[in-house]
C-alpha cells in the first residue's frame, strides 16, 4: 500500500483530469447499478410465468348486428361449431381475455352488503363450464363447475352462485387458508368457492393483484362478445384462418374481428417495459464505453505528458513491468475513489427512484457487480496505454533536454 502514496501524491498535484474521471466513474457506477437493477426487475417481470400457454391461445371479437338473431341460442351453436374445428382444443365465449391488458375486476366481500366486512379485489372471467379446460389451468382443490352451475343471463339480472379462484386470492380473503367451500359476496349476491385453481395471471401483468383471479360460470347474451380459443400445440395458425368462415356460414349477420394470438396481446401489453429495458441496456453500454474511453484517454494523455519521466524512471532502474504497474495502480486509485463516491451516489439515486417512481430498493448485489465490472473494465482500458508506455526508451532521459 505504501506504493500508492507517491502515486496518490503525484495524482493530487495535477488532479484536474483525475478528478473528472473520478466523477465520471462515480456517475457511471450510480447509473449502471441502478439501471442494471431496473433491467433485472423488468426482465423477471417479462419472463414471469403467467400460468397460461399464450402461444396456443387466441381470441376474437364477435359483433352481432342482425336484429332477429337469438344471441343466447346462437352462442351455444357457435361454441359447438368452434369446438368441432380440427385442431381446436376448446373454446368459450368470454367477457374478457387473460393477458390482454383489458379486463374486468371487482371486490368480493366476506359478508353481503350492507354489512361491513373484509374485501379483496380480483379480476374475473365469465364463461361456461369449458372455461377451465380452455385456459388449460389445473384444478388444485375442490371441483370444477358443471353445466348445471352455469347461469345464462341478459345482464346482471341473475348471477351465478359458485366460483373458482386462485389460491392467492382465496388466501387474501381467508388468511387461515380455509377458504374452499366458504361463501363470499358480490354486493348481496353469494358465491360459494367450489374450487381452487393453479396460479394464473389475470388481464394485467402490471397489477398489484395480478394473481387474484376468479372464474365465474355465467354467460351473458350480448351483441358484442369476445371468444377465447385454445388449439392443439402448433395448430393455432390454421385454426385462426377458419373461424370467420365457420361462424359466418352459421349466421351471417355479424362481424368477426381482431383475431389475435394471446402471446401477441401479451407483447403489446409489455411493450413499454421492453422498450425501457432496451433503452437502459443501450444507456449502460454507452456509459461504460464512454467511461472506458475516458480512462483510456486520460492514460494515453498521461503517457504522452510523462514521456520524459517514464524514460527517466526506466533509466533509474524501472522495469517495463514497473511502468505497467504504475499505470494500473494509478487507475486503481482513481477507480477506487470513484467507486466509493459512486456507491454513495447509487444509493442516493435509488432512494430518489424509490420515492418518485415506486421502484423497489436497489439490491446491493447490483452495486457490487457494477463496481466489479467497472473496475475490470478500467484495468482493461488502461492496459493498452500502459503497454505503450513501456515502449518509451530510457534514452529519452538523455536525448530530450
Amino acid at each position: 500500500m505504501s506504493e500508492l502514496k507517491p502515486i496518490f501524491n503525484a495524482l493530487w498535484r495535477s488532479k484536474t483530469g483525475a478528478l473528472l474521471l473520478i466523477v465520471q466513474i462515480a456517475v457511471t457506477l450510480a447509473i449502471v447499478s441502478n439501471a442494471a437493477f431496473i433491467i433485472h426487475d423488468r426482465v423477471s417481470f417479462l419472463n414471469q410465468d403467467t400460468g397460461l400457454k399464450a402461444e396456443d391461445l387466441f381470441r376474437f371479437n364477435l359483433y352481432t348486428f342482425g336484429k332477429n338473431v337469438d344471441i343466447a341460442k346462437q352462442q351455444e351453436i357457435d361454441e359447438t361449431l368452434l369446438r368441432a374445428i380440427p385442431g381446436v382444443a376448446d373454446a368459450v365465449v368470454i367477457n374478457q381475455v387473460p393477458l390482454s391488458g383489458s379486463g374486468d375486476s371487482t371486490n368480493f366481500h366476506l359478508k353481503p352488503t350492507p354489512q361491513q366486512s373484509r374485501g379483496a379485489r380480483a379480476a374475473f372471467f365469465m364463461a361456461d363450464e369449458n372455461l377451465l379446460n380452455t385456459l388449460d389451468v389445473k384444478l388444485e382443490d375442490g371441483r370444477n363447475f358443471e353445466a348445471a352451475d352455469v347461469v345464462y343471463s341478459q345482464g346482471f339480472d341473475k348471477t351465478a352462485n359458485v366460483l373458482l379462484a386462485t389460491r392467492s386470492y382465496v388466501n387474501e380473503l381467508f388468511p387461515d387458508g380455509d377458504g374452499l367451500g366458504q361463501t363470499i359476496y358480490l354486493g348481496d349476491n353469494p358465491f360459494k368457492i367450489i374450487g381452487i385453481i393453479a396460479p394464473m395471471k389475470g388481464p394485467w401483468l402490471d397489477d398489484e393483484q395480478a394473481d387474484n383471479v376468479a372464474l365465474i360460470p355465467q354467460v351473458m347474451a350480448a351483441p358484442f362478445k369476445r371468444v377465447l380459443i385454445r388449439t392443439e400445440p402448433g395448430r393455432r395458425g390454421e385454426v385462426m384462418q377458419q373461424v370467420e368462415k365457420v361462424l359466418l356460414a352459421s349466421e351471417s349477420e355479424r362481424v368477426v374481428s381482431r383475431i389475435t394470438g394471446v402471446d401477441k396481446l401479451l407483447l403489446e401489453q409489455t411493450s413499454q417495459d421492453r422498450l425501457m429495458k432496451n433503452m437502459l441496456l443501450v444507456l449502460i453500454t454507452v456509459l461504460l464505453l464512454v467511461t472506458a474511453l475516458g480512462i483510456c484517454g486520460l492514460a494515453l494523455f498521461n503517457v504522452g505528458r510523462r514521456t520524459r519521466q517514464i524514460g527517466t524512471r526506466r533509466a533509474l532502474g524501472a522495469k517495463k513491468s514497473d511502468i505497467v504497474r504504475y499505470f494500473l495502480l494509478e487507475n486503481t486509485l482513481v477507480s477506487l475513489i470513484g467507486i466509493v463516491l459512486g456507491v454513495g451516489l447509487a444509493l442516493a439515486m435509488s432512494d430518489v427512484l424509490m420515492r418518485h417512481y415506486s421502484l423497489p430498493r436497489l439490491d446491493n448485489w447490483f452495486i457490487l457487480y457494477s463496481l466489479a465490472g467497472i473496475y475490470v473494465m478500467g484495468v482493461l482500458a488502461v492496459y493498452w496505454p500502459a503497454q505503450r508506455a513501456t515502449l518509451i526508451s530510457p534514452s529519452i532521459a538523455t536525448r530530450s533536454v
Binding site: T312, R313, L316, G317, K319, S321, S395, T398
Partner: protein, 237 residues
C-alpha cells in the same frame, strides 16, 4: 570495471544511416573520474547511453564488472542499471509531480529497499547536497542548480559504484556549475567511478582523465595524474 571492445552503434531511419560510434574501444578502472569532450554530434551521449545500458549497441562487446551486457534481457539491464549505475542528466529530469523526497526515493523503490532504509538514505543524500530542509518542495520551486543537486542526491541514494553524467552543468551558470563539480569530486573521492560528458574545458581539466570523441571514435587520450592539484597550482596542460 568497464570494458568496451569494438563497440559500434548505427542509427537507421528510413532515409539515413548514422554511424554514431565506430570501433569504440575503451576501458575504465575503478575509482576514475573521466571527462568526455568532443564536438556536437560526435557520439558522446551515444557512448554514455550504451555505457549506462539506456541503449543497445549494434556491434562489439561491452562488459560491466565482468558481465556481458549484450546477453542481458531488458529486465536484466534495468536491474543492473538500478544497482550499479547512477545517472545525472543535463535536463535534471526530476519528476515534476513528486516532491524532492519522493524524487530521490524513485530508484530506491525500484530496488525494493525497505522504507526505513530508504528514509535514512534520502535524508542523508539530500543533506549531502545541502537541500535537507526542502524535502517537501516540488522541483518547480527550486533553481536549476538546486534541481541538479537533487538529481545528484537521487543518483547517490542508490549508492552506485558508477556515476554517468551527460553535461550535468550544461544548463547551469558557472557558479552553480562549480558547485555541482565540487559535489561530483567529493563523490569520486568517496569511491564512485564517474564518467562525465562536458563542453566546458575548464571542468574537463579537473577530471583525472580526459577523452575526446570525434566522429564516433576516441581520438585523443590524455591522462592527468593528480589533475586536481595541477589545476589548482595553475599548471599548464
Amino acid at each position: 570495471m568497464l570494458s568496451m571492445t569494438n563497440i559500434s552503434k548505427v542509427y537507421r531511419s528510413e532515409m539515413v544511416q548514422t554511424n554514431a560510434l565506430r570501433d569504440f574501444n575503451f576501458q575504465v578502472n575503478e575509482g576514475e573520474f573521466i571527462a568526455v569532450t568532443g564536438p556536437s554530434g560526435s557520439g558522446k551521449t551515444t557512448f554514455l547511453n550504451i555505457a549506462g545500458m539506456l541503449e543497445t549497441y549494434t556491434g562489439g562487446t561491452y562488459q560491466l564488472d565482468g558481465i556481458d551486457v549484450g546477453r542481458l534481457s531488458d529486465n536484466g539491464r534495468a536491474e543492473l542499471r538500478n544497482q550499479k549505475i547512477g545517472f545525472i542528466f543535463q535536463g535534471f529530469n526530476l519528476i515534476p509531480d513528486l516532491n524532492l523526497y519522493e524524487n530521490v526515493e524513485v530508484p530506491l523503490r525500484y530496488r525494493g529497499i525497505k522504507a526505513a532504509e530508504r528514509k535514512r538514505r534520502i535524508e542523508r543524500c539530500l543533506e549531502q547536497v545541502g537541500l535537507g530542509a526542502r524535502a517537501k518542495h516540488v522541483p518547480a520551486q527550486l533553481s536549476g542548480g538546486q534541481q541538479q543537486r537533487v538529481a545528484i542526491a537521487r543518483a547517490l541514494a542508490g549508492e552506485p559504484r558508477f556515476l554517468l553524467a551527460d553535461e550535468p552543468t550544461g544548463n547551469l551558470d558557472s557558479l552553480m556549475a562549480r558547485q555541482v563539480m565540487e559535489l561530483l569530486e567529493n563523490i569520486n573521492k568517496d569511491g564512485a567511478t564517474i564518467i562525465m560528458v562536458t563542453h566546458d574545458p575548464e571542468l574537463a581539466r579537473r577530471a583525472q582523465r580526459n577523452i575526446q570523441v570525434v566522429d564516433g571514435q576516441i581520438c585523443d587520450f590524455k591522462l592527468y595524474q593528480g589533475g586536481l592539484e595541477k589545476q589548482r597550482a595553475g599548471a599548464e596542460v
